[in-house]
Chain length 141, copies 2
Amino acid sequence: MSDHAHSETERLLREARLYSTACRRATLGVLLGSDRPLSQAQIADQFRDGGFNKVSIYRTLASLVEVGLVHKAFLHKRTWHFEAAHRCSQTQCHPHFTCTRCGATFCMTEVRMPMAQGQPRGFVILRQQVRLEGYCPGCAG
Amino acid sequence: MSDHAHSETERLLREARLYSTACRRATLGVLLGSDRPLSQAQIADQFRDGGFNKVSIYRTLASLVEVGLVHKAFLHKRTWHFEAAHRCSQTQCHPHFTCTRCGATFCMTEVRMPMAQGQPRGFVILRQQVRLEGYCPGCAG
DNA sequence: AAAAAAATGCAACTTAGTTGCAAATTCTGC
DNA sequence: GCAGAATTTGCAACTAAGTTGCATTTTTTT
Ligand SMILES: [Mn+2]
Ligand SMILES: [Mn+2]
Ligand SMILES: [Zn+2]
Ligand SMILES: [Zn+2]
């Protein structure tokens, strides 16, 4: 990670009252630089040499989610995917699209969804998450 | 299962060109009678005596999903939940609400969501799925 | 009733994610 | 900087949802 990225992740961790550790800076850096949600395995793959233990990455992700720097984006098969929260609003992330032919997933940052209206009496809706399915440009032809 | 329910599930399976078997009629019957999505384990629990092997239930669910009689509603933790498709439209199920305090999940059949608009060029959106988070009536107080 | 097609049960397996604990790192106050 | 407290990390072992291969049974077709 560059010095610039290092100080940026360090600042974010400080503000969130989290210890600034190598594993957290690296994990957050990877997610900030990704245009799509990543699984623990995909994150680990980006650590060239002397990576981190998968348990540490899982615990790092849990701490980042807890302070809101990262979101659990969705479950694909039985695997959670995570993304930095910098392109999400307080009440929802952008929708995620999965192609039912090739299985690829895309962040649909251009698609705007209004918040759900008309919840039954007594329910308080705080966040919503939208998954889209269909064919990606490569498969739609 | 009642005789009426038996003939109803049998008819649905016939129309879908699936063999009408005990495991399929029972599984479909349970889902049709449920007001919320169920996991394999929850379905199995409803088979009093002489239940079915969990592998058979999983394979039954896969066949019901394949013909569209049942939907994979959502993943909670690492567990899929299934529901009969009779209260879903062609392009989306009703939203599912999960309480972040007690963990309970509810079908929000009253909440209507418009289909996503403005997908990037080349993408074909066929279905959408909405998850809501917040506090249920019991936890909102 | 016989043959063909498909579903079922069982045991063994896979693997994402979790837990407990000892060692290492980071922070805080001097 | 340095000691001590607080927290994170790595490792090994574990958990459990879901899958696979194969022999047997059930359902459908003729
Ligand atoms: Mn997000
Ligand atoms: Mn549905
Ligand atoms: Zn595709
Ligand atoms: Zn609740």
